[in-house]
Symmetry: C2
Subunit: 214 residues, 2 copies
DNA sequence: TAGATTGTTAATCGATTAACAATC
DNA sequence: TAGATTGTTAATCGATTAACAATC
């Protein structure tokens, strides 16, 4: 029996983490539909993976099932939320108040998971001063002081490519622990800060690759 | 020597395809900076992979380098564009004129790659009739006829979860070859249609997982 | 030519799956 | 109890890397 998220944690791959995100969403749906228990076979079927994969993924964190019965939907959902760190609230600062930034700001999925934007920064005078929800768009020149006084956990980059590195550098200076970068450039970042890059074009390019090859 | 995209194409993994997207962007940058040749070592360094990985990825499609010299930046960029199917123009229909749809519609990266939205559909009467760029937002009720008359290659789903499957079914009926789904549900689709799911929350959940585990 | 770098093979690494004893 | 399903080990599969002959 292993404990959740501890020193003895075996190397958990990004593959496993991403599948846990999937299981979490499926379990939330099942819970909503008043399903009480689920087997690894059923969960795998709904998630498009084998039952062995489901059990293996969960086994990195503990024994959550009952032999002969399966898993309690509600309990497993909560367990996975805990594993993924979704029981906390995460504060985020948005850099870049363009249409992508706006879409992320208003994205319901983030709020449901406990991710909240508490600050928005942009350089465009036409945008500064406006408000999204109850957050005012501030000039980037105020960002460093503002974030020193009231820190966030995560920085989200939706600036143009040319501004991405400077934005990340600023985020690192004010002590963010994680960066989600939507600008299509590789940014340098100290190894103790977590970084995830999201490139919206990659999925489309993969589609066109396979569509071209028949 | 292998030919590009042909019957004898070895199984090319999604990993390789996604890295090709990365090489393409790096090569475009290098070209812009008037760099003429690049070695697999340098390309790997810029892309965060080993030189062997770069050469292996390219070797699925042919011999594009010169021993002792490396690769011609411009030529390799064009070759990869051809491989990824970015030399064509791809027409896309957008279903869901919310803030995410809007962000994708105006996303420059898509246009640069040859992906164009030619149609926008929504069910919200408040949105129907408005225009983005020079495309008018049409009611979904008109979608099937409209797309029969003037087809698109790719359908993009930014509807709510509850509408995603019906939207995909419609897309399949009008003959799209690929679907890019942003709704956080698994949709069923015939196996001859290519499908890519993008879930914006997954990258954030991965961040919070690793941030929680220190 | 000598040095550099490719293209490819073989070795390694890591992720997935099959199988089954444990057990509810 | 008998049937179902977990948790885990060992086997398999596939992706990455190291190494090097070929060659510019």
């Amino acid at each position: 029996m292993k404990r959740i998220i501890e020193g003895d944690m075996e190397k958990v791959s990004e593959f496993t983490v991403r599948r846990l995100s999937g299981y979490f969403r499926i379990l939330a749906d099942l819970e909503q539909n008043d399903v009480v228990t689920v087997s690894s076979a059923r969960l795998g079927e709904l998630g498009g993976v084998t039952s062995a994969q489901v059990r293996k993924d969960l086994s990195y964190f503990g024994n959550f099932g009952t032999r002969g019965l399966g898993y309690k939907v509600s309990d497993l959902k909560n367990t996975i939320m805990k594993i993924l760190g979704l029981k906390k609230e995460w504060k985020m600062a948005l850099f870049g108040a363009g249409s992508l930034g706006r879409a992320l700001f208003f994205h319901d999925g983030f709020k449901e998971d406990g991710f909240f934007f508490t600050r928005i920064f942009d350089t465009d005078p036409a945008k500064i001063g406006a408000s999204w929800g109850n957050i005012r768009i501030q000039p980037v020149s105020e960002a460093e002081e503002s974030l020193q006084n009231d820190p966030v956990n995560i920085g989200v980059v939706t600036t143009p490519k040319s501004a991405a590195q400077a934005t990340v550098d600023l985020m690192v200076r004010v002590g963010v622990k994680g960066v989600l970068n939507f600008a299509p450039v590789r940014v340098e970042i100290p190894s103790e800060i977590w970084l995830r890059n999201v490139n919206l074009a990659v999925a489309l390019e993969s589609l066109s690759f396979y569509m071209s090859s028949q």
